[in-house]
Structure formats: C-alpha cells, structure tokens
C-alpha cells in the first residue's frame, strides 16, 4: 500500500496562539481517517494546512510521494488533487448548481463546457441531485447544498478528500443524507480525512480514529480501540463528555 498523505512534525500558529504543535499523521490509499477532538483542538486547521489554504510554520506535508510544502511547488496544481469540503458549504451563490460544479474543471482542468457538464450531470445524478442542476444554492436545503459542495469537489477527481465538519451546520434531520454520500465515497475507495463530531458515524466509517488534543494527535488507533478502550485519560474524558451530551 502506498501513502496517500504524510504529515510530519506540522506546526502552525496564528499570532501567538499555537494551534498545531507537531502533528504526525500517515494515511494510506483508500483509507478513511477521522479526526475527533474538542473545538479548538486543531482539526480544521490541520485540514486547511493539508490543502495549503494556511501556510505552515514548520514540518512537511507529502501527498502521493510529492512534498507539497516544499519551496517552488505549484500550489494550484496540488489543490486540484486534494478536494476539501467546508462546514459552511461555501457554494458560489451567483452560479447555478451545475455552474458551481463545472467551474473548476473548466478553468483549472481546461475541460470543454460540454465535457464538464456531462461529467457534472453524471455526478449529480449519482447523488440524487440531477433535478437541482439549474437551481441556485440559496433555494436548496442545507443538506442539498452540502451534497452539491461534495460533488463540486469530486468533479476535480481528487486523490484525497478532506471533509471539515461537513454536518456541523446542518439541521439534525439533514445530517443523514450527507453522511450517506460520504459513506458511498468510502465504499468507492476514496481516501478521506474527516474532521467530525459525529462519533457513531466515525466509529462506523473510519479505518482509524485520531484524537486531537491541544494541537497534537494524542492517541490514534482503530475505532474499536479508541471508542472501546482509550488509553489516554484525556481521550476518556472527551468521550465521556460526548456520551453525557447524548452525542453517541
């Protein structure tokens, strides 16, 4: 098995606030890794660093054998291979669903309008959004918007997908449809790193769980071990709080 993603000694600060304090993480091809941890533990920042949306302070990130944090790399080329989906969807409100999905393939991959549209319609069809192609994002439900955002990222045919708390902004009844899409991606063999608060989903879908605490991966392992017999006291306490809050 080859390594899809390798994060090595990653440090990131915002001003005087050190958010990531030496993160090491390896993800194999076709693996699904879930990042759990309290808000502010660095999950989102880690994903944004992997997508090069945040410049890093120290360490290195290697995607499919290429060090993407090296000097002089083509940032745009790398981002095309790494899809990211945000908590707040971030769809383009002035474009129809179809235009949202075809924009990057047309501009970044130089696909023809016809080719990009055909692929986009295929993806929308696959995720039950074909009838929304002409609609504008504001007229869709949150769940539909988030599914469009996932399709938009998939249209670039990425090697790696990063999902940043994609269900956190959704009403409870809309969470399932989005999780279903992610499950389908996992079944299709997509390599994914998922920051999430949905513990039962994480236990279900992940090959590995990483518990982030104060900017480091404090503990990682298979879901049964992390949720069943966490070694670290902080992991235990975090999971206890989650259970108390009725989130698992």
């Amino acid at each position: 098995m080859s390594e899809a993603l390798l994060v090595d000694g990653l440090h990131k600060s915002f001003g005087t606030l050190e958010v990531l304090r030496g993160v090491d993480l390896a993800v194999d091809d076709h693996q699904v890794v879930c990042l759990i941890g309290a808000s502010g533990s660095g999950k989102s920042t880690l994903l944004r660093c992997v997508n090069l949306l945040e410049p890093i302070d120290a360490g290195r990130i290697v995607v499919e054998g290429v060090e993407i944090t090296a000097r002089g790399v083509d940032v745009n080329r790398i981002r095309r291979r790494i899809g990211i989906v945000f908590q707040a969807y971030n769809l383009f409100p002035h474009m129809s669903v179809l235009k949202n999905v075809t924009l990057a393939p047309r501009l970044a991959l130089k696909q023809s309008n016809a080719e990009a549209s055909q692929r986009a319609l295929g993806l929308l069809e696959r995720f039950g959004l074909a009838d929304k192609a002409k609609d504008y994002p504001d007229s869709l439900s949150g769940g539909q918007q988030q599914r469009v955002a996932i399709v938009r990222a998939l249209a670039m045919q990425p090697d790696l997908m990063l999902l940043d708390e994609v269900t956190s902004a959704l009403d409870p009844e809309l969470v399932a449809e989005v999780l279903e899409v992610i499950r389908e991606l996992a079944d299709g063999g997509m390599t994914m790193v998922i920051a999430t608060h949905e513990m039962s989903f994480a236990r279900d879908i992940a090959d590995r769980i990483c518990f982030l605490d104060e900017g480091v991966i404090l503990e990682q392992g298979p879901p049964e071990q992390i949720f069943g017999a966490p070694k670290e006291q902080r992991t235990q306490r975090f999971l206890e709080r989650i259970i108390e809050a009725g989130r698992m």
Partner: protein, 267 residues
C-alpha cells in the same frame, strides 16, 4: 392598519405637506426682493428664448458623461484590483494605487480640470489634443476613477473570504477566482453606490464649461451675460434635474429591491 386609519394617515400627510410648502412659498414671495428675483430668475419669455439652445448644449453634457463613465468603470475596476493584489512583490503597485486614490480624491475636481485643461494644451506638443472638452473628460475620468475604485474595493472586501478559499481550494488561480467568483458578486453588490457616483458625475460635467466648452452651464452663462437675466440658469438646472432625478429614483428602487431579496433569503 385598518382602512380608516390609513385614510386618516394619508389626510394628515397631505395636510402637513400643503402647510409646509404653502408656508415656504409665502415666505419667498413676500420677501422684500422677490419682485426683482422673479424678474431676473423666473422670466418666462427669457426661458422660452434660451431653453432650446441650452438643451442643445446639454447634449454635450450627456456626451461627456457617457464617454467618461465608460472609461471610469473600467479604470476604477483595474485600480481596485491592483490595490487588492496579494503578495509582497505587488507592494509598489499597491502603494501607487493608494497614492493615486488619495491624491485624486483630495484635490478639488475644478482644480484638476483647470490644471489639465489649461496646462496640457499649453505644452504645445503637436500630438496633444487641444480640445478643452477632451481635457475636461480626462480630468473627470482621473477624479472619478479614484472615487469609483473605492466603491469597487468595498464590494470586493464584502465578499466573504471563504468564497475565495473555496475557489482556490478547487485549484483556481488568484485571477480565475477573482474573475469568476469574487468580482461578479462584488459588482452586483455595489451597483447602487455606483449609480450614486454616476449622478455626481452627471452634475460635474458642468465643470467642463469652465474650460470654455459650450455645455449647458456655459451656454446659460453666455445667455445671462447677453441679457442680464439669470433665467437661463434655471433652464440649465431643470435639464440637469430632469436627468438626475430618474437616476436617483432608479438607484433607490435597486437598493430597495436588493434589501427585499436579502431579507427573503435570510428567512
């Protein structure tokens, strides 16, 4: 609100409006100098005599406005984009952009017009146009580009950074993101303030008359000087108002429509 209450409100509105405006009219017409003012500013005969020529001259105002506006819209967008360039390498360009905007927003428009209109032809370079209207337009473009670029810039900054992040995360370059994602949203949001600056520009076309171009204001000055009667000024003013009031109402309508839309989207 019931029908009776609505009628009562309308009656009060009509009544108070009548009282205020009648009061103002009485105040002015009973002023000691009113007969003289009426004769010099509101002479119907003079109005009829001067109006056609001033209306013809007003076409020059419209022409100046249209030509200047076309250039302003393009140059101002360029300036706004330059001031928004990322990276340390673009710092000199950003500094130039800021200096330009600061300078031309700070100097009175009439001074820019005077300096260019009298200064540029005086250079006696044979490739420099001598037309005062040409230099008037150049001056208006220089000044208004500075103002309008601020409007564009506010629009660009009002687009949430997550929009750019989403575009960049898909592999779009800075320019592709700007062109396809940020600017279309920015421009849509600033259409009302842009129209507001249009109105200002439409009025300021009268300043070009200062250089000698015979536009509506200059024409009315010529008439006033020939007849010792200022009714021609009123005629020019009416022409300006006839054009700017529809623009202003159109702007109000756009603002109101935009607000309704956003509120509808928020519920």
């Amino acid at each position: 609100m019931s029908g009776a209450e609505g009628r009562r409100g309308a009656l009060i509105a009509i009544f108070s409006t009548l009282v205020v405006f009648t009061g103002l009219a009485l105040l002015i017409t009973h002023a000691p100098g009113w007969p003289e003012v009426r004769q010099t500013f509101f002479d119907w005969g003079q109005f009829k005599d001067s109006f056609p020529e001033i209306a013809r001259a007003f076409l020059l105002n419209v022409k100046i406005f249209l030509i200047a506006e076309a250039f302003i819209l393009v140059f101002a967008l360029l300036l706004a984009v330059i001031r928004n360039l990322p990276g340390p390498a673009a710092l000199p360009l950003r500094i130039l952009g800021i200096a330009y905007a600061d300078f031309f927003r700070g100097v009175p428009t009439i001074l820019v017009i005077a300096m260019l209109g009298f200064g540029a032809p005086a250079l006696q370079l044979n490739w420099v146009p001598l037309s005062t209207t040409f230099w008037g337009i150049v001056a208006l473009v220089l000044v208004y580009t500075a103002y309008v670029s601020e409007v564009y810039r506010a629009g660009i900054e009002s687009v949430h950074p997550s929009q750019n992040a989403a575009a960049r995360s898909l592999g779009l370059t800075h320019w592709q993101s700007l062109r396809a994602v940020v600017l279309p949203q920015a421009v849509r949001r600033v259409i009302p303030p842009l129209l507001n600056d249009f109105i200002g520009l439409q009025k300021d076309t009268a300043l070009v008359g200062f250089l000698g171009s015979v536009e509506a204001f200059k024409q009315s000055q010529i008439d006033a000087a020939a007849t010792f009667n200022y009714t021609s000024y009123v005629a020019a003013a009416l022409l300006f108002v006839a054009l700017t009031i529809p623009l202003a109402r159109f702007t109000d309508w756009l603002v109101a429509r935009d607000r309704r839309r956003r509120q509808a989207a928020g519920t």
